[in-house]
């Protein structure tokens, strides 16, 4: 284990999200719905040196394994991230995130005239493009600041 990885403490059971682009860790926490109020132990390293990314963020969440939906959305803002599932201090699964074809109900369309922003019984639905996402209802393409669209 390198010195860089020791900057945040090891966890017993949970998830380590590594190789997040520098500065995106707090958005990752927003995606997985962790704001500190749930009592989970969370360690965050931001802008630590990385051979692959230059600078990276790292998030360690004690007692929590990410769902596939969470990983899908995570992939939109942290496409280089790796997910490590830890059980009893050992990494039992390690995989890179993969961009899904579609994300449902997790991003809010920024087009204020889109039907999904109104009080209708429909979830937002975005097609995932190579460099962004596209609303499947109003066709709006979003390439920047995706984290700001995450549904609360």
């Amino acid at each position: 284990m390198s010195d860089h990885e020791l900057r945040v403490s090891k966890i017993r059971n949970g998830t380590v999200i590594d190789h997040i682009a520098g500065g995106q860790a707090l958005n990752v926490l927003a995606i997985v719905g962790i704001d500190g109020s749930g009592g989970d132990a969370v360690s965050v390293g931001m802008n630590v040196p990385s051979d692959r990314l230059g600078q990276k963020d790292i998030v360690k969440v004690e007692g929590r394994e990410l769902s596939q939906d969470e990983v899908d959305v995570l992939s939109l803002i942290a496409p280089a991230a790796t997910i490590n599932i830890v059980r009893d201090f050992d990494v039992v699964e390690k995989h890179r995130v993969e961009r899904p074809d579609q994300v449902v109900g997790v991003l809010e369309c920024p087009n204020r005239h889109c039907i999904t922003t109104e009080d209708e019984p429909v979830q937002s639905r975005f097609e995932v493009l190579e460099d962004g996402v596209r609303c499947e209802f109003c066709d709006t393409i979003v390439r920047e600041d995706l984290a700001e669209l995450i549904v609360d």
């Binding site: 039907i115 429909v122 109003c138 066709d139």
Partner: protein
């Protein structure tokens, strides 16, 4: 045509389009053969925004097929005023009618509504999104006047919010057409339409000045520059005058240039142009009836 609903011009293949245009031509040639075809059939008209041409032409089309319409009326007089969702409205009205026509101010409304009903649903305009049946009558008019071979078309005006423009641009990717888009920088085509045209490999150029391209056009499709889209009136006045067609403008045009406009117009085309051979916009509006008869025929039964 194998479509449950007509939501966007993007869903229409060249085969679908030609089937509608051919059927419309048959109907125009012998309307009597279709006069009783849909007796007892009801079309539900759900117009959440004002409309004259689209609504009346759908109504005329259904009645000329022997059917009838049930009309929601204005939003002010409907249960929408009480706060009913669109999803509920369409689910209720599908029990009253055999097909629905929806115009709504929100983009994506027709797509959403189509997911809640089993009867055919036709998008008659969803905000600044799409207006596919207008596009079909536009294409019918283009085929009548200029044909689709080696077509050079200029599309001018409010390209950003103009739903008829978005639908037409998508549909034209099925044909051998060069598309020239002419607008102020602030009203250029939205990113999503430019993305689709690029993906489709369409031959597209963007201009701010009509003079750059007018002499080579077969068709000039003009839309209204909407004053309400501009943050200040001075900015509107500055650009609006640049995009008006008068008889003098046409001195540089080819003799066989076809001028179209989805209407209503305000002052984009001077009335003096109406009497020239270029003016096709009233013919275009009239084509709404046979084309919408063809659409209804193919959706409601036809040869399915």
């Amino acid at each position: 045509m194998r479509q449950d609903h007509i939501i966007s011009a993007k869903q229409l293949s060249r085969g679908d389009i030609e089937e509608v245009l051919d059927r419309a031509a048959d109907i125009a040639e012998d309307p009597g053969a279709y006069a009783d075809r849909y007796e007892g059939t009801l079309l539900g008209l759900l117009f959440f925004e004002p409309s004259t041409r689209t609504k009346m032409s759908f109504s005329a089309a259904m009645k000329r097929l022997g059917g009838d319409v049930v009309d929601m009326g204005t939003v002010e007089s409907s249960s929408v005023k009480k706060g009913e969702s669109l999803a509920d409205t369409v689910r209720v009205v599908e029990g009253y009618a055999d097909a629905l026509v929806l115009r709504h101010p929100s983009e994506g409304s027709a797509k959403m509504a189509g997911e809640f009903v089993d009867v055919p649903l036709i998008n008659a305009g969803d905000g600044a999104g799409q207006h596919p049946t207008q596009t079909l009558l536009d294409l019918y008019t283009i085929r009548e006047n200029a044909g689709f071979e080696d077509l050079s078309i200029g599309i001018m005006g409010d390209l950003k919010y103009g739903r008829t423009v978005h639908s037409l641009a998508h549909a034209l990717t099925n044909f051998d057409a060069r598309q020239h888009f002419v607008s102020p920088e602030s009203l250029r085509l939205p990113r999503s339409v430019r993305y689709d045209l690029h993906e489709a490999g369409a031959e597209v150029r963007e201009h701010t000045d009509l003079d750059e391209v007018l002499p080579e056009l077969d068709v000039l499709y003009v839309t209204r520059i909407q004053q309400e889209r501009f943050p200040d009136e001075d900015e509107y006045r500055e650009v609006a005058g640049e995009y008006q067609i008068g008889e003098d403008t046409l001195a540089a045009a080819r003799d066989d240039l076809t001028i179209m406009h989805p209407l209503p117009r305000v002052d984009e085309i001077a009335h003096g142009v109406d009497d020239t051979d270029h003016a096709t916009y009233f013919q275009q509006a009239h084509n709404g009836v046979p084309v919408r008869m063809a659409i209804l025929d193919l959706l409601l039964g036809g040869d399915r």
